[in-house]
Symmetry: C2
Subunit: 356 residues, 2 copies
């Protein structure tokens, strides 16, 4: 009993003829992705009621996806589970009670943990959001986690005005790249700290091209007079995805009443907080978890506004996806293994490409 | 040109006859109190305009006073400086433009860093606040720093309701004792952590008598099921004046979205903040400095309300001064040396007694 969409074209036509076989990366127990993920074929039922059949076009591999498979993440799926959390897909056909969503439209998940490393998914309409087709597939596939994290961290902890400064370590991470681009769009100075490396010049050039005001190595920031000379205002806000000494060093540059927001812990070392700045400079140390925010603000106007702004920037070419590589679903083992190592976290993101 | 107060009595009478000689503990350079403080006699001019001549009755020795003398505190006095920051005193006589303040009334400082280790002080009326005479001298002398710190930390970081829980280390400190008493007055559970010691039973008894719901040693809190059993709700708020492992342990017990406020660093070790709780439990690490708050809220209604509530509790006998010993001004060297050692911070407070 499908409410057949009237839009002509291949997808709607095809949907009338047969139900769909989805190839999915599934797991039935926690473990390393290459051990526990199996490529499984399932016949999907036709969408009923408010269900939507979606052909997945691209689905990124995020570090949190790997941690979820390993059982190391606070989100625990029900087994058997389809791995993955983000995607962009094309609506194939919709149940009889779906309103305002048509075959051919592009959608991304509004809900988390839907299971997205699959060629086809059957979701409820209220778990999805339309994304303009002008938004690139890589941008749409990766918008709900990293760019939203950057957006919220820039909006929700400190009131920033044009000319204010933000500092961050792991400045070449996917979130870091999003921070630079949003800062550029909003007129905020974005200072990035990265580890030294042989290709440091190219990395600085890339991040400055994305909008960073200045990119310094961990050694350079220790001796930099960038804030002392008043060339750039002292940061009101710092982002930390590293921990350990890097976090301490970054927090040292914060202005009075500044806030450091931790959203990752790549070094696996805790954040060390000196007592003096806490008390006498009123520095605050906070944390941010996008999954929590999204759940608590599922239908909030702030969330709609955020996606609207991000889509507009993406359509205008002012916001691009993080450094990434598209890989076919069959190569997931290699990609999953790479996604959690250091390069995976602060370098390129793998995006599963489902378009055969 | 004194506006002679009409109230009869010794003080006003005496004021007509001669100006006053103040014996003050003064210093002209930073250093250890016993080395740099000198007992100096100065003839004070009669109060003019909005000035008030105050006979100091009692003035506590706070750790911050010692740090200020040592030059280790962010507050830097102009030399020559009279040491000390808190007092309770009696108004002797007032300048011609003072309104609503009379000889014989008890006053405490509204301003910080006035210099209070002296027998007489000449202050401006707007630097002073009247305190009801029913409030005990030890309570009045020590109200502006420790009880106000406890009050603000309980009010300004988390919304607490009766039945909620607060946890703190250094629970026998002067602030700690104030926290227990305010929690008792407001129906909040107050869990105190202290170091183990030979007289632990007496210490627990004392703190429970002051209002602590439970007092645990650092070893006991690690294995306690007090929160797991639901006997007491998980704390929304933690206070830390120790740092290091103690702070980490205390923060572990915080409920989701809990806040740990650091107001001291007795162990001289930083606060170590695990990345997981920051991100996934949304725990925040903040700091509090009473001096900053008082400056920023000098005339704020919140400040008047705070003192009103504290004075009422003190008048009703529901809030007493921290463990203390009154010492004569001449014994300041011994008291100053004691004030900074461990006992001085979490044990008894010395209060200089100026009533010869």
């Amino acid at each position: 009993m499908l409410r057949q969409t009237l839009r002509p074209g291949h997808a709607a036509h095809w949907c009338r003829q047969m139900s769909v076989v989805a190839k999915s990366l599934k797991y039935t127990q926690h473990g390393e992705p290459q051990d526990v993920l199996k490529l499984v074929e399932d016949q999907l039922a036709d969408p009923k009621d408010k269900q939507v059949l979606v052909r997945i076009l691209a689905a990124p591999i995020n570090p949190a996806d790997i941690n979820t498979i390993q059982g190391k993440y606070p989100v625990k799926p029900k087994f058997p589970a389809v791995a993955g959390n983000e995607f962009v897909g094309e609506v194939i056909c919709v149940g009889e009670n779906v309103k305002g969503l048509q075959a051919g439209e592009h959608v991304i998940p509004l809900a988390t943990g839907l299971g997205t490393w699959t060629t086809y998914g059957l979701y409820n309409q209220d778990q999805l959001m339309t994304v303009p087709k002008k938004v690139g597939l890589a941008e749409a596939a990766t918008v709900t986690v990293n760019p939203c994290t950057a957006y919220r961290m820039l909006k929700d902890f400190v009131k920033l005005s044009p000319g204010d400064t933000v500092i961050q370590n792991g400045a070449n991470s996917a979130v870091g790249q999003a921070v630079h681009q949003l800062c550029r769009a909003w007129g905020i100075n974005s200072i990035g700290i990265v580890r030294d490396r042989p290709e440091i010049c190219e990395l600085k050039q890339l991040l400055e091209c994305l909008g960073a005001t200045a990119v310094l190595t961990e050694a350079e920031v220790r001796t930099s007079d960038i804030f002392k000379t008043g060339k750039v205002k002292r940061p009101k806000l710092a982002f930390n995805c590293v921990g350990g000494k890097s976090a301490t060093e970054v927090s040292r540059h914060l202005d009075d009443c500044g806030v450091m927001v931790t959203y990752g812990g790549m070094s696996r070392e805790p954040v060390t907080v000196a007592t003096g700045p806490l008390i006498f400079k009123d520095i605050a140390f906070r944390g941010f978890w996008m999954t929590r925010w999204s759940k608590e603000n599922y239908d909030a106007p702030e969330r709609k506004q955020m996606f609207k702004e991000l889509f507009e920037l993406m359509e205008q070419g002012k916001f691009v996806a993080p450094t990434h590589e598209m890989v076919p679903l069959e190569k997931f083992k290699h990609a999953a293994a790479e996604a959690l190592n250091f390069k995976g976290f602060t370098g390129k993101k793998f995006i599963l490409n489902m378009r055969e």
